[in-house]
């Protein structure tokens, strides 16, 4: 049987559908994008083949770098704010007894509502004149704290980051929660017998055993920061004055709004390169084996 599975022909046949799919849907389009990134393709034809798109991006395009900075900022916010809270919540809910189930549902609900709906909801909540947030601030006598949450170029990016974190919280939480649930209860019993309290158990047993999940989650979070598109597009469209531009929205705006498909392709190629590099670095940094259990 083993010999059978090892036979190359069988392996080739079995992976062929997946491979074809990846080649056709991922690798081939990427190759086309790479080719077009050297052209001034405008959706109809092109007459140049050189490095001018990349030159423009690296030397003159400050919006691109702002977009990259925003993407990284979001990734960092995920890692430093969203995930520690998610881990903490996951650990806490496992100790919540009869509240465990309702809490779990409550925390996960935002993730199953469509991004479109939650984004529009936040746009209404953050509206300057009629938004709930500003009205609540006025009601409690803090009207000086009122802000133009999405219309002020200096603040809008933080509003976006907050909403994106809120939207992604459920999934981050769920992965950690499942990770914790996967830790056998014998370990808990053994730790209690050895005299550990709950805090010690959490710090010395759960966290280390959760490391593989955390690692995956971190990589996913950073990549999600890079890939952020729909929330921004729905909430501010990259504005005001490009202050909330992310790589995804900027790519869209250059390719489809300005009709510069060649330039858009160049951005997308850099996009892929950044994602690969970041994933590689993250994997190196977080590489650490965990004992089996």
């Amino acid at each position: 049987m083993n010999k059978l599975w090892m036979e190359k022909r069988n392996i080739a046949v079995l992976i062929a559908p997946g491979l074809l799919f990846i080649i056709g849907m991922v690798l081939l389009p990427t190759a086309v994008a790479l080719y077009l990134s050297f052209t001034n393709y405008d959706g109809v034809d092109y007459n140049l083949f050189n490095l001018s798109n990349y030159k423009e991006i690296f030397l003159h395009d400050s919006i691109f770098w702002d977009a990259l900075r925003n993407s990284i900022l979001l990734g960092i916010a995920f890692v430093v704010l969203q995930h520690p809270i998610a881990v903490l919540m996951a650990i806490l809910t496992t100790h919540a007894g009869k509240w465990e189930r309702p809490l779990r549902i409550l925390i996960f609900i935002p993730s199953i509502i469509s991004t479109f709906v939650t984004s529009q909801m936040w746009v209404s909540l953050l509206n300057v004149q009629f938004g709930l947030l500003n009205r609540m601030l006025t009601a409690v006598g803090l009207s000086s704290w009122k802000q133009d949450w999405l219309g002020n170029p200096d603040i809008a990016i933080y509003s976006i980051i907050f909403v994106a974190m809120w939207q992604g919280f459920g999934y981050a939480y769920l992965l950690y929660y499942a990770g914790i649930k996967g830790i056998p209860s014998e370990l808990y019993e053994a730790a209690i017998v050895d005299g550990a309290n709950k805090w010690r158990y959490g710090r010395s047993i759960i966290l280390p055993l959760l490391m593989p999940v955390i690692r995956i989650n971190f990589v996913l979070a950073i990549v999600a920061g890079f890939k952020q598109m729909e929330t921004v597009f729905l909430m501010t469209g990259g504005g005001p004055s490009n202050s909330t531009q992310f790589l995804g929205t900027y790519l869209y705006s250059r390719a489809f709004r300005d009709g510069l498909f060649g330039y858009g392709n160049a951005i997308s190629i850099l996009f892929i390169v950044f994602c690969l590099v970041v994933t590689l670095i993250m994997n190196r940094l977080l590489k650490k084996d965990v004992g089996e259990f």
Partner: protein
Amino acid sequence: MKKHLNALALIMVIVLVVSACGNNNGNSNSSPSKASDPATTATTATTATTETPDSNKKVEFKFFSNNPDRTGGQGLAEQKLIDQYMSENQNVKITVETLSPDPQFQDKLKIYNASDNVPDVTMMWGQKRYLDPLVKNNALVTFTKEDFAGQGFIDAAFDSFTLDGKIYGIPKNTDFLVLFVNKKLLADNGLEPPKTQGDLFKITEKLKGTDIVPMALDGRDSWPLALLFDAVVARQSGGFDLYHKAIDRTGSFNNPDVVASAKTIQEMVKSGMFGEGFLNLDYGGARNLFGQGKAAMYLMGEWEMGISSDANFPEDVRNNMIVIPWPASDDGKGKTTDLLAWFGGGYSVAAKTENSAEAKKFAIWLFKKENWAKTVWQNGITFPAQNYDEFKTGKETQVQNDLTNILGSATIFSGANSQDLFSTSTAKSYLDAITEMMASKSTPENFAEKIDAIADKSYKEMNP
């Protein structure tokens, strides 16, 4: 065993491949490109001959519109006429696809063009930057002025749809920038409709502390900001030559009048004229603000003339709406009779589709004066680019009459507005620069230099 496994693997692969193909077929059948799929069209044609033997070939084509609301405004006019055409021509079936707001519509049209899939009849904007990519791709049918002889078109209306002497679209509206005013809201606060830009500041000052926004402005889409900029520059410099010359490079944006205009606009923002958060207020949001009586004025084009008959808004607001031109400058140099007016929207017909000829026939029919011009005027929807005098009923709304007067008394017309004159790839930078200036992210001087550089780049792109 091995044999079995081999067979199993083979079956799995075949199943996967076949189901993938099946999906593809399903997709192409249900996709909107139905009409251009020769196989599908062929089948429809055969069924047509069996079902309606007396009529000619059954034709089906797509109408791509930027008006999702088919029960009011221009969407209603389009739908009424489409329905009428279908009932007059039983063999024709017109399906409607809509998408809004305009920038998204334009994005999708670019994709349709890039994939050679332009809908048979589509909403189109005049000016080179919209038309050029489609014309370059030979995607559009050409018209002649004779096609519309006797339909009362204003002669200049076709100019913006004309490229190298050929007409690629039919203009549908005479567009101009105006100020919708809720005169009761102003009167309640002891104010009158503004006559000069100085009055605007006075109104803003007086309304401070109330929760009324002086002027609703759609800042998120940024194109209305550019119209505001055009209007203020026109008042400052006493005409529309400044931006026309700056864009065709016989003049420059790096000009004291531009700097002064930018300063005025920044002061307007700082005074709170547009309310807080206008930079993230979208089209519908600004319209609602005014329609619900939360804003005293509303800066928009004449195409919103239906707002005074929009049943979604309180009667109290609708009955008190008037329309005035953008106020004059304080020094009297820029007059209200200088009107920012252009022929913006229209329709084009795709050249590469199966039913292109039928679609063209429909488009020409659509613009018979008793169809488009009469429908839009008598339903209070918009200003046609055709003469509509014979369709006046005497029952026009206050807003309609005000608009007629503004257009009738204008002595100088701007022609195209500034943003439409930029090349495709620079138009957004131009709009961004205006947004930045309004967000006080750049000084008036920097702003003038910046848009001058953009105008230079645009000129070089359009005249290689």
